[in-house]
């Protein structure tokens, strides 16, 4: 399907040449008339290359080229006008198409042009088309040889340096004269954009005056061109002959300084444009040269028939099915590759996960071993461990809640040495909550009694009270000691032999 092989069938009034192009090689068959024998030959040829597409190149006599001018309009508008004109034409049996031309803004040309081409369908052409539609090969389309020869001419123009005096000032028109086996000798006139017109000419070199006829044909072509290009000069028409050496020998004798002529043989052209082995040096005709260039270059204008259009649409659908199959095949391939990669990745992920699990299990084994070493796993009685934890936690919290009140009481022994009589002793845990016991909790100790004052003097009472406070504070250095003060309103004239005291000691130890 992607092979560059293709058939080009050049059909003219004198027969057809079937050329199988494959790269730079060519295999050609000439068929003068379609008969049973030639049909068998064709069948055998096409059966060998069923998947090779076919293009028809018409080189028949009856080809009409009609140029029409329009106001400067868009290409879309020009195309729709051209299509309407073709559809309104009464001639339904010809191959028809058009080449639109919209000048560039910089050219200064104020009109659009359209070249209408009409190629008569002879019985022979119809029969060829019919045969080609029946064979398994794909018939791509029908093309006109004069139009497609423009590619050959362009290649030739780029390869060959034209003489200096060929440079035109205003117009750049070229007349290509070729001789084909199946179509005869033909003049094709090109502008820079493509074909202008073509016509068949006939030269018999055995006639004495054929050179004059050649000149007359050039001049009559020039006169025809003057209708479209009124200011053209004969020197602005460049003539390129691709003719046999026998003809060129005579043409070289032509002594007309007005005519700008370059002569080539088909072999010389083939050599110049790179097809070294295409033709032999004594080749007379250009059929194969044009066929080769046409097979390799971009096509200019395609003619078609309703059957070919239907086949093209079906072919497009077929190509879509190929593309669809291709996409799905690629998807399958990519998916299979991704599955292979996925399995590889998954294996490594599973291995990694298993390694982590093994490491975790080893850690656990170490922990169990450690537990065994610590005698924590005796006979696997986990309940014993739990019981140790439960009882240990409770003991940690409850064992040392509060303060040993007997110890506090014994520490208060110094009070007797400070002339104080203790009447009451209180101990509380003001912040303790039984639901949430804390070991370091604040305790409060209240002591109450009477401080004795032997002299009754109030100063001695104050001094004794201060000494008692200081020793209490010193005895409980980490606790806060507060007391109920002797009121300032005390009667200083009165004797106080004793006085009530009240101390509060609070702390967390």
């Amino acid at each position: 399907m992607l092979s560059k092989k293709n058939f080009v069938i050049t059909i003219g009034d004198f027969g057809a040449i079937i050329a199988l192009h494959n790269g730079n090689t060519i295999k050609s068959t000439f068929i003068a008339t379609l008969n049973d024998e030639s049909k068998v030959t064709l069948k055998n040829l096409f059966d060998e290359h069923k998947s090779t597409p076919i293009r028809i190149l018409l080189d028949n006599l009856d080809q009409t080229y009609k140029n029409k001018s329009y106001p400067l309009i868009s290409l879309t508008s020009l195309r729709s006008i051209a299509k309407r004109e073709i559809n309104s034409d009464g001639d339904r049996n010809s191959f028809k198409n058009y080449i639109p031309f919209i000048p560039s803004k910089s050219s200064g040309i104020k009109k659009s042009e359209c070249l209408f081409i009409s190629i008569s369908r002879s019985e022979m052409i119809d029969e060829w088309v019919k045969i080609l539609l029946e064979i398994p090969n794909r018939l791509v389309g029908i093309y006109a040889l004069p139009i497609e020869s423009f590619r050959l001419f362009n290649i030739l123009k780029k390869k060959i340096t034209q003489p200096v005096n060929f440079k035109s000032k205003y117009h750049n028109l070229n007349c290509l004269i070729i001789q084909n086996k199946i179509g005869g000798t033909r003049q094709i006139v090109y502008s820079e954009h493509g074909i202008i017109f073509t016509r068949i000419v006939s030269y018999d070199i055995t006639e004495v005056d054929w050179l004059e006829k050649y000149e007359q044909d050039i001049y009559s072509t020039f006169e025809y061109l003057k209708r479209s290009f009124p200011n053209i000069n004969i020197t602005e028409l460049h003539i390129t002959n691709i003719l046999s050496e026998q003809i060129l020998v005579h043409l070289r004798k032509l002594d007309n300084i007005e005519l700008k002529i370059i002569n080539y043989t088909p072999y010389q052209v083939a050599q110049e444009i790179g097809y070294k082995n295409l033709l032999t040096p004594d080749e007379v005709y250009s059929d194969l040269l044009i066929s080769k260039v046409f097979s390799k270059e971009k096509k200019v204008l395609k003619f078609t028939t309703p059957q070919i259009i239907v086949l093209e649409k079906l072919f497009l659908v077929l190509m879509s099915s190929y593309a669809l199959s291709g996409i799905i095949t690629v998807t399958i391939f990519v998916t299979i590759v991704s599955i292979a990669l996925f399995f590889g990745k998954t294996r490594s992920l599973v291995k990694e996960a298993n390694n982590k699990k093994i490491a975790a299990t080893q850690n656990m084994s170490q922990a169990i071993t450690m537990a065994s070493k610590e005698d924590l796993e005796e006979n696997n009685k986990s309940s014993d461990l739990e019981n140790i934890i439960d009882l240990g936690k409770i003991d940690e919290h409850l064992k040392s809640v509060g303060k040993d009140f007997t110890k506090i009481y014994s520490e208060l022994n110094f009070i007797r040495s400070y002339n104080t009589e203790l009447n009451n002793f209180g101990y509380t845990l003001p912040d303790f909550t039984y639901q949430n016991p804390e070991s370091l909790i604040r305790y409060t100790v209240n002591i109450g009694g009477n401080i004795l004052n032997k002299t009754g003097d109030i100063d001695d009472l104050f001094k004794g009270f201060d000494r008692l406070y200081n020793i209490t504070k010193k005895s409980f250095p980490n606790s806060e000691v507060t007391y109920k003060e002797i009121p300032r309103s005390i009667d200083f004239t009165k004797k106080y032999y004793d006085y009530p005291i009240e101390f509060t000691i609070s702390g967390t130890e």
Partner: protein, 214 residues
């Protein structure tokens, strides 16, 4: 090329496309299914690993705790480990017995209905803790005996006792008559005391939880 031939080719190739699409769907489904299975397998291994890691961490935590609490556990007296709950009869006998030892009179004890503690540190796996609030009042000859009585009585109780409030007060000074009475062998008790304490005692767990795996 005949249109019938082309149509046949189109049908054939679309059929091939359809078959390929079916194959592609099966392969893609297989791919997704395998991915899901693999993810599930990996997830299962990861869950196992997480479970083992958690259990290891739990075991290590327990090892740390047990190391710590094993030392504490050795120091806990059997009386504190007692898990028989609160027995009122035992209390009364101890009160009388220890009271006689320290010349205690007019002793009265009030024990609140035991309450099972289950929150915070009392949320234990092997045993339960019951709690009662106890109010004790008595009279003593002197402050030393009063304090020793309270200390010995509370220490004799099973479990843990936290004294919340304690007060000792001399109700009056000794009169001459009191002193004469004392010299003749009378026991005059001028010290009155009020004690409020919280009493925590273990009791066997009523709802047995399944033993954790190690």
């Amino acid at each position: 090329m005949k249109s019938t031939h082309l149509k046949k080719q189109i049908i054939r190739h679309f059929s091939i496309s359809l078959a390929l699409a079916l194959l592609a769907s099966i392969i893609i489904y297989y791919r997704l299914n395998q991915e899901q299975k693999s993810n599930d397998a990996i997830h299962a291994i990861e869950l196992d690993t997480l479970d083992i890691t958690n259990k290891t961490a739990d075991l290590e935590r327990k090892i740390g705790e047990v190391k710590k609490y094993k030392e504490i556990f050795k120091t806990i007296s059997e009386n504190r480990k007692n898990s028989n709950g609160i027995k009122i009869n035992d209390i009364n006998s101890k009160l009388e017995d220890i009271g006689n030892r320290y010349n205690i009179s007019d002793s009265a004890i009030k024990v609140s209905f035991p309450e099972t503690l289950k929150e915070g540190i009392f949320n234990m796996t092997t045993i339960e803790m019951v709690y009662s609030s106890v109010d004790l009042s008595f009279k003593a000859i002197n402050d030393i005996e009063a304090l020793l009585f309270v200390s010995q009585f509370t220490n004799s109780l099973p479990g843990y006792v936290v004294i919340n409030k304690l007060s000792i007060a001399k109700s009056k000074d000794y009169t001459d008559a009191d002193l004469v009475g004392i010299s003749s062998g009378q026991k005059i008790r001028l010290i009155s005391s009020q004690v409020n304490f919280y009493w925590y005692v273990y009791k066997p767990k009523t709802e047995k939880k399944p033993e954790p795996e190690i």
